[in-house]
Amino acid sequence: MLQALAGSAAGLAAASAQAQFRIEISGVGATQIPVAVPDLRGEREAGVPIAAIVRADLLRSGVFRSVDSPAAVDENAQPVLGEWRARGADALLGGSLSRLADGRFELRVRLWDAVRNTELLGQSQVVAAGDLRLAAHRVADAVHLKLTGEPGVFATRIAFVVRQGRRWTLQVTDADGEGAQTALASAEPIISPAWAPDGRELAYVSFEAQKAMVWVQDLPSGTRRVLAAFRGSNSAPAWAPDGRTLALTLSRDSVAQLYLMPREGGTPRRLTNSPAIDTEAVFAPDGRRLYFVSDRGGAPQIYRVAVDGGNVERVTFSGGYNISPAISPDGRLLAYVTRLPGGAFRLMTQDLESGALQSLTETADDESPSFAPNGRLIVYATRTQGRDVLMTTTLDGKIKTRLLTTGADMLEPAWGPFGR
């Protein structure tokens, strides 16, 4: 059921048809680009609501708002852009969806600038029926890029864990929460999914052998292999940006420490050397440093270390307990979870240049932040009304969306890369 939207001035409800997840948008951004996206000619016959998917994507980014568009406009139309401007639109997207003789579909769109009276882009895609939602997301990405100068993340995917009773599944959905596919179903916990940079593999921790081991699984085929099964616990996989190495937390030498392991497996190289817990490593985007959690100072804080193990320095100084680092794709922002004096766990960001801190939520059980690959959104897990759910937020905390599923807890989100 959709909840009443708080503070929404422009009817931002985006209900997903036949959705296992419900996207709920709350909060209004400072400036939103008004875009008209009428239904595409031919989409009703094809049975896939391309325009609705594009509208929902654009709305969910927080950067756009939708202008009512009564009739379909196809890519060959000569729209009177002044009329659309009068309706309040800065841009108009028109297009068509047609079925080809071989069973595939052609999706054609054109985007017009209603202010400057020009065409901004024209695009066609030919896809199998099963890829129509993906094609719609790519249209939304093209619109986002053209109108904001930044790539959208609508065609990306999110991995996460669903726990229902004593059953865990590792799932992958489109960034809008649709199209959930199960990569792994298990009667033992699964934690810490981590996307390979090419989007084809997931590393994760599975307790199927009655202790924590790191596995790597090829998503299209389901082929999986053990990466680390050393003495004690093996966990916290994180891929280097070049995809050739993973950072791991191993307790093989008695206490959790960071190691680097080639992606094929083999002998890990120890990275940190402390008598404390070192864990939750993530690579900086340049691949030369890692950020991680250590309680070497008495309580968990976030540190960074060069990939050769040198130059360990503490990064978080505010608050007595800071965990779960995530680094933005441009390397400038650290997202993490802090424990507040009252015991609440809250998502924060820290500007790594200036040290400026920002609190992003008002919830009390935030976990596992992960940046979208365009660096504009963060997905995280939290608890609301007794349920473990996933949320996304813009970097200013103003626009949030919620993904939830009935009767199960959603945990450990990881936002996938561009190019799936």
């Binding site: 071989d102 054609r108 882009l121 024209g122 695009q123 066609s124 895609q125 030919v126 896809v127 199998a128 890829d131 093209a142 890029l145 053209k146 065609a155 995917r157 669903v162 059953r167 599944t169 649709e178 199209g179 596919q181 199960t182 990569a183 792994l184 179903a185 298990s186 009667a187 033992e188 916990p189 934690i191 810490s192 199927e208 009655q210 924590a212 699984q217 998503l219 299209p220 085929s221 082929t223 003495r231 004690g232 616990s233 966990s235 916290a236 937390t249 307790s251 206490v255 959790a256 817990i277 864990t279 939750e280 959690v293 968990p300 965990i323 979870v337 766990f345 976990e367 599923t405 799936r420």
Partner: protein, 194 residues
Amino acid sequence: MNRTLQTTLCGLAVAALLAGCGSSVNLAEPPVETRTPVPVAGARTPAGTSVGATPTPVAPSANPAGTPESRVATVDLARTPVSAAPTGRIVYFDFDSFVIRDDFKPLIEGHARSLAAQRARRMTVEGHTDERGSREYNLALGQKRAEAVLRSLALLGANETQLEAVSFGEERPTDEGRDEAAWAKNRRAELKDR
């Protein structure tokens, strides 16, 4: 409950969970498929965007007739029975601590003596935490608790070769409550025979 009923209920639970998913449950191993990235004009190459009469065509999908590009194959693992240790085999801990309190030393001494007397006996020490904090940090903390008990056992007579320390972090609570009473029951190390 008997095994068949258990399996059936598990199967139903899995089916119910997967019923909403986009892909069918396919436990047979499909061949690995190579996927060619589909470039989309305008999405990431603004220079290639055409502003003109005809929309720019884009390379067709690598799998024209059938499988979507983004297919994820499902792997379903078999169920393993889980049992908790009886009370005489559990050591409890304070929040964020792996220090063994004095009142648990007799329990550990007893097990160490028993291991010393029977060198063929093996034990696993499982460390657990309450739910507060990240799963990974708790996994490490649980490991420290298990290691602390293991070290005590070794100091009191057991051989390290008889022992393994593992951690379940916050993943196997005995009490799912969200108050201090429940959390206290979850901060523990369990001694189990192997």
